[in-house]
Amino acid sequence: MRSILTWQGHGWLCLPARIYLGCIFLLACVHKIAHPGSFAIDIDTYDILPIQAVNLMAITLPWVELVVGLFLLLGVATRAAAMAGAGMLVMFLAAVLVALARGMDMSCGCFASQAVANEDPISYWTILRDSAWLVTAMYIAVFDRRAIGLARLAEGLLYKPHK
């Protein structure tokens, strides 16, 4: 167990995973940040949250995606960012599952609004895709103990061993 956890290769395996996941979150937040009103409609479309919580979610969620995406890309607090990302993915999975169970024929709204994203309907592929991202996020959260990135660079600069 210890050897698996402390294996030095995890950092290098996690690097592409982090870049990939970071880009996904950054791509996902762009439209939502630019058009919070459209995203609020997307959230309401799922008909899960009480209406009073819809706008708050529409305003805050994209910024969490942005920060998580940036942190994953830059290698800052990567395990925490991966955990926050995993939390969001669990939430998205639950929402899509509920919508599918209700037989809703709708767009995912993951990367663009319902109005323009007719080509991205929710399906079991959406579940599979989000699950794969969730596994990736969990892997980073558990194994990326010394992430390659800014935090490690700063740590190296600040705590350079004296000769």
Partner: protein
């Protein structure tokens, strides 16, 4: 010794994950606060709390069951055992339709009253047709396909729809192709 090492690793991992979870909560809260502040100055900013529902058009459950599409030149269209249903508005139906086609105007956003659908279902059940072929406006979504799904969901078997709807049928007529299109509605 090995067991001790494993236990230590588990404790460390648990501690690390707990700490990371704490940081994750902080990241989430911080980013949320940032979003709330930016929203104040956002040109498309929205109120923090809304009390009235948004008008969402998409999330209707997919009506009914499975239906299959057929082409505008499919011979089934002129088969005497096919019952044709025109899902377009009455005005379009009166301008042009297939011979003997019933008219059942269907609007995806303004579903048919229950009584009309029941009446329609009764008419279909009473006919001697072995299949029902619906054609609509050919748009996206196609009113013909939507009505076909409604009917199929109500237990009518062998419901089909014409891909491309009435425009495809008209093109088939103009091209003089098969099947021979029936005349205007009586």
């Amino acid at each position: 010794m090995a067991m001790q090492g494993t236990g230590e690793a588990q404790v460390n991992l648990a501690q690390e994950l707990r700490r990371a979870l704490g940081h994750a909560v902080l990241i989430t809260l911080g980013a949320s606060c940032l979003g709330l502040v930016v929203n104040l100055f956002h040109p498309e900013g929205i109120p923090y709390v809304t009390w009235s529902d948004y008008e969402t058009l998409v999330p209707c459950p997919v009506p009914g069951g499975k239906v299959s599409g057929i082409g505008a030149r499919d011979p089934l269209l002129v088969d005497a055992r096919s019952l044709l249903v025109d899902a377009r508005p009455k005005k379009d139906y009166q301008a042009w339709t297939m011979k003997q086609a019933l008219n059942a105007p269907f609007d995806y956003l303004d579903p048919m009253p229950e009584s009309v659908l029941k009446d329609m279902t009764r008419k279909i059940a009473a006919s001697r047709a072995v299949r029902v072929i619906v054609f609509g406006d050919g748009d996206k979504p196609d009113s013909g396909e939507q009505l076909a799904r409604e009917l199929s969901g109500r237990g009518i078997k062998h419901v089909m729809f014409v891909e491309g709807g009435a425009p495809a049928l008209m093109r088939a007529v103009n091209a003089g192709g098969k099947p021979a299109i029936r005349n205007k509605a009586r």
